[in-house]
Symmetry: C2
Subunit: 375 residues, 2 copies
Amino acid sequence: MEQSPDERIRITYLLTLAEGEMPEARARAVALEQTVELPDGCYPRRIEEQVVGRLEALEQRGPGRWQAILSFAAALAGDGVPQLLNLVFGNVSFQRGVLVTGLELPSGVLRRFPGPRYGIAGIRAGCGGIRGRPLLCSAAKPQGLSPVELAELCGALAKGGIDIVKDDHGVTDQAAAPFRERVERCQGAVLEANAATGGSTLYFPHVTAPLGGLEERVTIARAAGCRGVLISPFLVGLDTIRWLAESTELMVLVHPTFSGTLLRGDHGIAPAVLFGRLVRPLGADAVIYVSAGGRFPISEQDCEAINTSLREPLDHVRPAFPVAGGGVDVERVPHWIDRYGVDTMFLVGSSLYAQADLETASRRLVEAVREHCDV
Amino acid sequence: MEQSPDERIRITYLLTLAEGEMPEARARAVALEQTVELPDGCYPRRIEEQVVGRLEALEQRGPGRWQAILSFAAALAGDGVPQLLNLVFGNVSFQRGVLVTGLELPSGVLRRFPGPRYGIAGIRAGCGGIRGRPLLCSAAKPQGLSPVELAELCGALAKGGIDIVKDDHGVTDQAAAPFRERVERCQGAVLEANAATGGSTLYFPHVTAPLGGLEERVTIARAAGCRGVLISPFLVGLDTIRWLAESTELMVLVHPTFSGTLLRGDHGIAPAVLFGRLVRPLGADAVIYVSAGGRFPISEQDCEAINTSLREPLDHVRPAFPVAGGGVDVERVPHWIDRYGVDTMFLVGSSLYAQADLETASRRLVEAVREHCDV
């Protein structure tokens, strides 16, 4: 937890001003709200220097739009992930027109977090050393199926050559498919398929659990031989990512469920900042996001920014896999490979399930991707 | 965890349709997204009956606005709070124009959660049996002060007669004020003030912690003699509320930091549903929200809906205290008592700190409230 006292966290906020608001005053309001929560002067003078956010730059970006760069002493986030989140977008979430468009964590803060243990290279290695093409991911679904039925789907996806088969994020520990039985059967089916095909498919169970239950699910998953897990950190706190990366040797695949309202319009956290700058250093090896061209509204530009943010150099933090999901169609995967590049994972579900035979549909997808990438 | 197989969770969604969208199709899309995440027919027929959300009612509510009531088998949320949250507003958070305006949890689901252990009556009793007036809450702030300085502020607020003194939500375990020393000193200062005045002020430390750290902070708080705690569950998962209510005998005060984007416009969760119908049954004794008339934009109507939702009869679940905060001015507290009623807690910070002497300012507020309520 050692860090230089001079290190500062730099956060870029794009402020959308209401009629008559002054940009300096709005930036100052953010700086106060995120730290002292008191009006100017209602605190000792040394707190101004040590605690209140410092306005580093203020620049107009359009009519009524101003970009403010604020810096904060790294010590303010000294208690880890929850307080970092609080500092970045805690109480200002109740204001209007505050969009976090940049986040620079100094080395001392980044080094407090484990970062991805595997990242792109490690997941590629875990999946049999695949190079030159994107990875393919799919889910055993829907919830309500029995462990035997889910395992059968896992087996079909694995036999078809899908690289990573995960649980659906709505599957946890319901009566229809209790966690332990499901994980053991699904992992067993994938290993059996690998043995039959010579493949290296991995199965990632969804371990999101009520407080106090995560450790047990991880233990069960590891005992079953799983190499990675799926977590929904927006339901249970982003710090679960850090914990998984630090406390286990599992690959960590992040599901974004419940995060949607953060990602809209002129108020929230820009997708590339949320999934890249914030989630990646915590220890996410791969991050699922809803992609353009699917069933949710998001721009291709935002998706490419997420991809960049997960892959670009960042101190000691390994590049993590962007996982484009949310309704990517099998037929369009080659198109998206050209757009997003090969260091992408494609999460394909519905358009595989819509075909008559899941194994054949999977195999066709894998072959199409191989052919497209010439590997 | 026993429940009738026929019990259903009813969720009301207000759908804002884009040009040309059909209300039935939008409602169906929500029902599928929240359960099977597959297109119609790409799953076994029994899943339609057992898992897919059922459209119970569909009604126009304005131009392009339709209210859809969907019901889901209670078993889908059988794994507790994270999966309940997933079911209510997981992946639909990535759609547009989906506002949760109602949530009815059947008795079997409500009884899985502890509900408030104290609620309004229990907190009143804990604060010396105060009746006939609202409770007054304030915070020791800002972060950056030392434990000695924070304790001095706690003492001043307690001597002035504030009923509940809490940590600021930005104060966790930073170097400036390490958790244990801060809690012991602040609690000590409040007890000392009580001994001097004959008062019954309570001190609630902020126990939000990285994963795995909550239990230790709770243990320290209890050992110091604290009767309640402050938690920021949107940073660390709503299930922390359930855990605190179930595993400790502490009063649970909820801070809403980071939840702001859920509460805006036509997409998210209506404040009364989020803080009342969802957070209250988990075990919140008191819930802070940003009030109209403060420094954040929210309508008085929304605030009154929150108040109602926290107080109204709900199965075995005790009424919880609405805590109006976010910049309520001391001078306006009598006004807000008339609007919100006496079963409210007022969280007053800045306008106390803006006065020369915190103890005197607190005493004047308490006296004004007593006079206004004739107690």
